[in-house]
Symmetry: C2
């Protein structure tokens, strides 16, 4: 399915015009929906033609879609997702590579690639999408958009295809803060309210050290501006201080989240693939080989580690703490460049080392399009404690306005 | 499928003998698995022959099953669940009514009816099951077993059939506290550790007022014994004090959880039924008529209420607070007696008014088999704040040992 000549963004699976069912705080806003979220009467592909053809169309919209339509927003399309949403690069074997508007020779990031492209190319104000390992945050960073992964389990996943029940979330990509804020408040059932100002802004050194030097420099400049604007001295923090024991940031992914995600993926998509033997795209097939060979019994200790890391990291947060770090350690890779194991590892390993911090600790994270390296965007992320989504939205507003 | 002559409990869908894969804290314990939780190589019925026949067998056990097998427990059977687990009575149109060992002329409660019967009739030490609206707690109460519904989302639901993602949990029914404690610590990834003693035990007056007078009297006697044993004065609390505004306990269900559950059920089982038009059992068909007619847009306000109730109720808990109430307001109904709308309402309405308290607030709840009315069991429930599962286990141990 190559890009349609009428859709230069390459984002659309299907153009739609679903009118809002009530007026509300999102009146006048247009949105797209990632193709792993149900829209009534349309087959949900999950990024896989085989899955799409094997499953009936839902009769109900996902609950999160109904929340938006009942608040005045209009749905203008269903957009591309990476196959089984199991990727962070946004190069789909079946649906193509949606256009990274600010860096057209580079990938948009995934798995919410169509979501990012639909917003960045002006088809919509925001896109409803999902994030487990980084599928909202990575495209936000690489396409220069606002993106929020909320606290785990703050938004209903009814009508969102099951993927990794202990990790995956519904999130939003938007072209400006006001849109992100308004849509997240609808989805979170969180009307705007008075929140404390951030009093402690900490920058995670371990993430900076993983980032490219040019990204690190840009983070420094952005934080200088935020310090000046807020009057708050931004202090460094190390991962070992946060968890209260000597260990490195990479344990979040390598000794925790990665195994939990793989085991849960075996139980959802894995069971279906093993039973039905569907056609799989080349890139996904490679990744799935690792899923198939994965020893879930050996992984149980890392699942227990996830629970402990969640506790440790959240015990560090006070209600007025924000931690920040670059959303991704690098700008987007060039299209077609992830064609060797080395290139794949070079992209995924450092990226997931950073994204797993919020993942394992179930934190809300907002990626802010503040950094530019070699004319390409990179996001600066802010996180708060689990379920402190309203505080985080308010804190980010104060820091950037 | 009538009861097998070799299984007088009526609990078994299939007898099994799955050996543990590692030794551990559950060495020597036998368990059964509710038939909405995956066991590798066996079709999962979800309590529905039509669902079973339409879906392939999983190749992986659910992650929670693997946790138990890797801790020394042996799986001895797959057991009956009510159709689509959408019931609290335990009278399955297709799989019969598993035997309530302590009150054989009465229903066992559901939807974990086979789980309760397998434990109460001595086939297993514990059963792995699920709870959304009360499916662990109600059979625990009506069959005189220990039962725990953990905090929402504390245990992975990978390999557990999707049902109501914002409400459903994996839980355990057990024949003694030590077994419940040991199994829950494995599932929660929570090794035994030093916990504060409960300092504030409160009894929820609104739940007592809904209960039958004889249940109320039994609660009073049990609390007298706990006061004497612990030296803590148990004080009354009203729901309006907990939430900090004038409202009644029934709002948890009527203006909150019930609508969230129905909307989410539409998006999971509902979509499948509408697309595939499977054969449905008589009782479930009646209930499903209400699901089909349900207006999910009108329900969005009640979903927002759920989020607010969660916040309000959890803001009331300190780390040393336990709240208690009768798990169910009555003893088990007689078998076959739920055959009029009035009888159904008389069972479900007061029961769900009580069970929705933990449901909407995502609290851990342990039902303790402490009460007897007319020779039939009723449970006394203890709850703590969201994610305070370890404290709750420790607090209950101190109160009853």
């Amino acid at each position: 399915m190559p890009h349609s000549p009428t859709d230069p963004s390459g984002a659309l699976v299907e153009q739609l015009d679903l009118a809002p069912v009530r007026n509300g705080s999102l009146d006048g806003l247009y949105f797209t929906v990632k193709d792993n979220i149900d829209l009534a009467g349309l087959k949900t592909s999950y990024g896989s033609p085989a899955w799409r053809d094997a499953h009936p169309a839902p009769v109900h919209n996902a609950l999160c879609v109904d929340q938006l339509l009942a608040s005045g927003a209009r749905c203008v399309g269903k957009v591309v997702a990476d196959e089984f949403t199991y990727s962070l690069d946004g190069e789909s074997f079946y649906f193509g590579t949606p256009r990274n508007a600010k860096a057209p020779d580079r990938v948009p990031g995934g798995s919410s690639s169509g979501s990012a492209a639909s917003v960045a190319n002006g088809l919509a104000d925001f896109s409803l999408c999902t994030d487990a390992g980084g599928s909202v945050r990575v495209p936000a960073s690489l396409c220069g958009l606002w993106g929020m992964r909320p606290s785990l389990h703050r938004i209903s996943e009814a009508g969102v295809l099951p993927f990794q029940p202990s990790v995956s979330t519904v999130g939003v990509l938007a072209d400006r803060f006001e849109v992100l804020d308004a849509t997240m408040r609808v989805l979170l059932n969180a009307p705007a309210s008075s929140m404390p100002s951030p009093r402690r802004i900490l920058v995670l050194q371990d993430a900076l050290e993983i980032a490219d030097a040019a990204v690190r420099d840009e983070v420094g400049s952005a934080l200088d501006r935020i310090e000046e604007h807020t009057g708050i001295v931004i202090e460094p923090v190390r991962f070992s201080e946060i968890v209260g024991e000597a260990c490195e940031l990479k344990v979040c992914n390598l000794n925790g989240l990665r195994d939990l995600q793989t085991a849960e993926f075996q139980s959802t998509v894995g069971n279906w693939i093993e039973a039905c033997k569907p056609e799989l795209g080349f890139t996904f097939s490679m990744a799935y080989g690792n899923v198939r060979r994965f020893d879930r019994i050996a992984a149980l200790d890392n699942m227990a580690r996830c629970e402990r890391l969640f506790r440790q990291i959240n015990a560090f947060f006070t209600p007025e703490t924000v931690i920040c770090f670059p959303t991704t350690p690098k700008i987007a890779p060039r299209k077609g460049s992830l064609n060797t194991l080395e290139a794949v590892m070079d992209f995924y390993d450092p990226t997931m080392t950073i994204t797993a911090f919020s993942g394992v600790a179930r934190l809300p994270e907002i990626s802010v399009p503040l950094l530019t390296v070699d004319t390409c965007p990179v996001g600066l992320s802010f996180v708060a404690g689990h379920y402190q989504d309203e505080f985080l939205l308010s804190a980010v507003k104060r820091m950037i306005s």
